[in-house]
């Protein structure tokens, strides 16, 4: 067997716990990543792991496919992921998280796939696709993580919003609070039964708020 391998690394201006939430918030893939993901379904999940079916379009080669992936938070610094695609090849992925000062973090992803002999020649294409994928999803996830961290610091509560805004009161003094990793993430969509689909693949985008990020 030959092995295709690549890695990519970026830094985020938010704690690693927010990034881990983002990885396990499966519902957002057909929202935030609506241009590339068309469907997602959680097949099973428990504390720290999940089995997810996703349909998406690969960049560079513009290939529509799907895969079933097992994702496991091994420890607070490491997610292990295995994805089996339609062609029967297994993508072995690691995501490592490192704390940095001032509520920042570094994220490193590795992509590894064993392929039949001779297919090692695909290494340059492999690097191009996986790095493009990492960058594409990162660029769409980064403002989401930054905004999530921002509203969290303003007292945001899931399914409720920000109390001082809803109650039409002056902003109180809000003491810092840690961002907890709580898995599985709470859900009110049918993602665990029938799955969820994107509601459009093209949109007139106005963008994030001025002042986000």
């Amino acid at each position: 067997m030959a092995v295709l391998y690549s890695e990519a690394e970026r830094e985020m201006d938010c704690p690693k716990e927010v990034v881990i939430w983002n990885y396990f918030d499966h519902e957002h893939v057909v929202g935030t990543h609506y241009k590339n993901y068309s469907q997602v379904k959680v097949l099973a999940e428990e504390d720290g792991w999940c089995l997810v079916d996703r349909a998406y379009k690969l960049p560079v080669i513009n290939f529509k496919t799907s895969s079933v992936g097992f994702m496991h938070l091994i420890d607070p610094h490491h997610i292990k992921s295995y994805q089996m695609g339609k062609m029967g090849l297994l993508l072995d992925q690691d995501i490592y998280f490192e704390d940095l000062p001032n509520d920042r973090c570094r994220v490193k992803g590795t992509y590894r796939m064993e392929v039949p002999p001779g297919f090692g020649l695909l290494q340059p294409l492999w690097e191009k696709i996986t790095k493009r994928w990492f960058d594409l999803t990162w660029d769409e996830d980064a403002p989401m993580r930054l905004r999530r961290w921002k509203v969290w610091k303003l007292g945001f509560r899931d399914f409720r919003g920000i109390p001082y805004i809803n109650e039409k009161k002056a902003k109180p003094n809000i003491p810092p609070r840690p961002y907890p990793v709580e898995l599985p993430t709470p859900k009110i969509t049918p993602i665990k039964g029938q799955g969820v689909s994107r509601i459009f693949e093209k949109s007139d985008e106005v963008g994030y708020s001025r002042g986000d990020g």
Partner: protein, 118 residues
């Protein structure tokens, strides 16, 4: 606007109105969103009227006004929750609702009451 010092009707009263945008800024999409004093405001023109809703999706905090208003609905970018532009009510989950801010249009300026209750 935005990160600039905000203009209010009375700097001693937290319930004073704040100038949050100019009507001319709404072109060409008819809407904009911006943070003002830790409020994320979705400012838009709908059925000939200027309205301001909270831009923070109460589900998980996503940006309600990321996509252009379509068929009277805003669709949050993150998880596709849809909200009525008329009422701020979430169409998918009726228990969720966006705050509507009291708004006044003075010439080209859009003024909003960020704080109503003391």
């Amino acid at each position: 606007m935005g990160s600039e010092k905000v203009e209010t009707t009375d700097s001693t009263d937290v319930r004073a109105l704040t100038c949050v945008a100019r009507r001319s800024e709404l072109a060409p999409s008819g809407q904009l969103s911006r943070w003002v004093d830790d409020h994320d405001l979705l400012i838009f023109e709908h059925k000939g009227k200027i309205k301001v809703l909270s831009n923070i999706c109460p589900h998980l905090g996503g940006p309600v006004g990321y996509h252009k208003l379509k068929d009277g609905r805003f669709t949050c970018l993150w998880h596709n929750f849809q909200f009525s532009a008329d009422s701020g009510q979430c169409i998918d989950h009726p228990k969720l609702c966006l705050r509507e801010y009291k708004t006044e249009v003075r010439g080209d300026e859009i003024w909003v009451q960020l704080v109503e209750n003391v």
